[in-house]
Symmetry: C2
Subunit: 143 residues, 2 copies
Amino acid sequence: MVRTSKLLGSAEDIEAAFYDAINRGDIEALMAVWSDDEDIVCVHPGSPRLVGHAAIRASWEGMFERGSLIIEPRNVLVTQNMMMAIHHVIEDLGDVEFDGMDGHILATNVFVKTPLGWRLTLHHASIAPGAVEHEHRSTAILH
Amino acid sequence: MVRTSKLLGSAEDIEAAFYDAINRGDIEALMAVWSDDEDIVCVHPGSPRLVGHAAIRASWEGMFERGSLIIEPRNVLVTQNMMMAIHHVIEDLGDVEFDGMDGHILATNVFVKTPLGWRLTLHHASIAPGAVEHEHRSTAILH
């Protein structure tokens, strides 16, 4: 399989390339950010688990055929070491309604360091209700 | 904060302790599997992102008060290195219906190796429609 060797950079760069490819509807660029691992995982909001390149590619092709997507990741929380990075993001859809739902999308993106550079190995997205009013965050520890 | 030093073992052991604590409704055991990191993340199906121990603890206490949960993880896909482990699991709810929905739950669990051993740092669960008939898996690569 042909992979571009030009896709280098940090996990943040690969994540930016992922959302850029989504926003441009560019299936080749989108698939290039994924790891070659057979067990790559993608969960679209409200959908079953997809495993492997062919199933994941087909799902995105279907979404691109139904129209353009504009997704901007924000409020990214990062857990990272030398070989793996977990980003938990809120996906801002702008004015787009997702399947008519009033909500926002949460996504966990996992990147692994491969011989070709950082690559996406898991994207798990789901719908949360309502607008993003505030972070449900605690700094104090109760016990 | 008091943490048990007895909670040792692999990421798989900590995941087993997590689901065991859920199934017993044991909030102390449940919170003991989490990392001390302030930015621990928990997403319950169809719910907003929770960040930090207090918010996460309160959410599980609320769930335990509403009744017992029986969740068995299965079809676990693992990506792991020395310091981090990502498990993507299908949560089998047995005969329990989740909020009246006909579906199953997908979860991404991220574990990090801490000085105390492997601990959970992210749990992202979401609802997928229908029963788990078959894995949407591809071994061939289309291009």
